[in-house]
Symmetry: C2
């Protein structure tokens, strides 16, 4: 390895929120033209992360938050004895790294599940700009609050749902977010393994696999390894709301 890491490629082209097609999903939601230009100065750099590589790891110094531009990430925390828990999956337009603010160090790993690219948002600059720019402040607070609400939902899932309900809720959440990005609401390609799904849902990979098989038997899904097609959306929705 004599080449510099893949993570510091400069890529000066189009590092600008104002010309980014994700601006309706990302930090600058609802910003006007002049405001967007001020963001462009803050989001100065991109960073590429190869599949399997970490954007940051637990213990790393916290310097910036990251907006996913392309690709797909998982975040995970580990207990002292080695067990780990996937705490979320992040796709284009979603923010990574908010966990690091409290202690100046990250408390989870963010790992790319496919070759990805993120916008680097230095936290000091985000703080400064949002102090003089109320709309940015408000938007940033909303993003942190959204993360807290999302976590509440995951706790509900982990604490009170059965295996099939968890998987159904997971698939519905994924497709909903994909749909907001212009993808089909009924067909998706999983970027993560059965084990990663299981570690997210508090299940073993065999249980995840069996649930997929049962969904297929019941005509709810068509499952071809990572390719999933939802055949009966209503049934899937019903599983989440009314168990059994």
């Amino acid at each position: 390895m004599t080449k510099p890491s893949s993570t510091d490629r400069p890529n000066p082209l189009q590092v600008a929120c104002s010309s980014c097609n994700l601006r309706e999903l990302c930090l600058p939601v609802g910003f006007s033209g002049s405001e967007l230009e001020r963001l462009d100065g803050m989001v100065a750099t991109r960073r590429s992360v190869k599949r399997g590589d970490a954007l940051f790891r637990s213990g790393d110094a916290f310097e910036a938050v990251y907006a996913v531009r392309t690709g797909f990430f998982k975040t995970q925390v580990s207990s002292e004895d080695g067990r780990d828990q996937v705490t979320g999956f992040q796709m284009a337009g979603e923010l990574l790294g908010l966990d690091g603010i409290v202690s100046d160090h990250h408390t989870c790993d963010a790992v790319a599940l496919e070759d990805s690219q993120v916008c680097v948002i230095p936290y000091a600059e985000l703080e400064a700009l949002s102090r003089e720019f109320g709309e940015l402040q408000r938007q940033f607070h909303k993003i942190m609050s959204r993360e807290i609400v999302r976590d509440q939902g995951v706790m509900l899932l982990l604490g009170s749902m059965r295996a099939e309900e968890r998987l159904a809720a997971f698939l519905l959440n994924l497709t909903q977010r994909l749909q907001a990005r212009g993808f089909s609401p009924t067909s998706l390609v999983l970027r993560m393994t059965r084990e990663e799904i299981g570690t997210y849902l508090g299940l073993k990979l065999e249980t995840v696999s069996r649930c997929f098989s049962r969904f297929q038997e019941d005509g709810v899904l068509e499952v071809k390894l990572k390719h999933i097609r939802i055949l009966d959306l209503a049934a899937l929705r019903k599983m989440v709301n009314s168990p059994c």
Copy 2:
């Protein structure tokens, strides 16, 4: 009931962060005298909440965040079919209501487990003041980030721990927070029922009760209903880090 609700008692006395004995645990951590005075203007009112009453409920309009001054709360979310999940327990100095920022409405219930009192921090004022006052901004971001990190820990617990480990982790977390408030690190009074503990830990109340009994048999705890004494702290710690 002709008297006004207990929640709008004015209590003008000592509504001031600068003279609050919780300022080292609460929002104004690390603030100097002059800065504290500026906070005093923001935290204008108190609110009393009787045991069993809600500070806010899911769906309520979001207007303020709340700092617990005295007492004890639980927060809980409900699924559409009525199951609910306790997402946390809050004691003096901890903030409630951050979930409401994203949608202008609260997404969980906050219920007092004993007669309590909170400081009302209008969100609009918090936003404005933290814009011109960097230390407050930073502190508020840290509090939101801490909440996100805490949620990661709960996910790890719910997703990967066995019943006894969950209860051990819960007790260690409680005593640690109580110790930071000057209480004994080995003796505590639970403010919540077995069912509330279970709903927090993703267990049924019978399982919680059985775990308490087993801990007592093993000489790890002394359990007298809500009164818990930790007899073997090392054993409790060991249960969390290395299962079985």
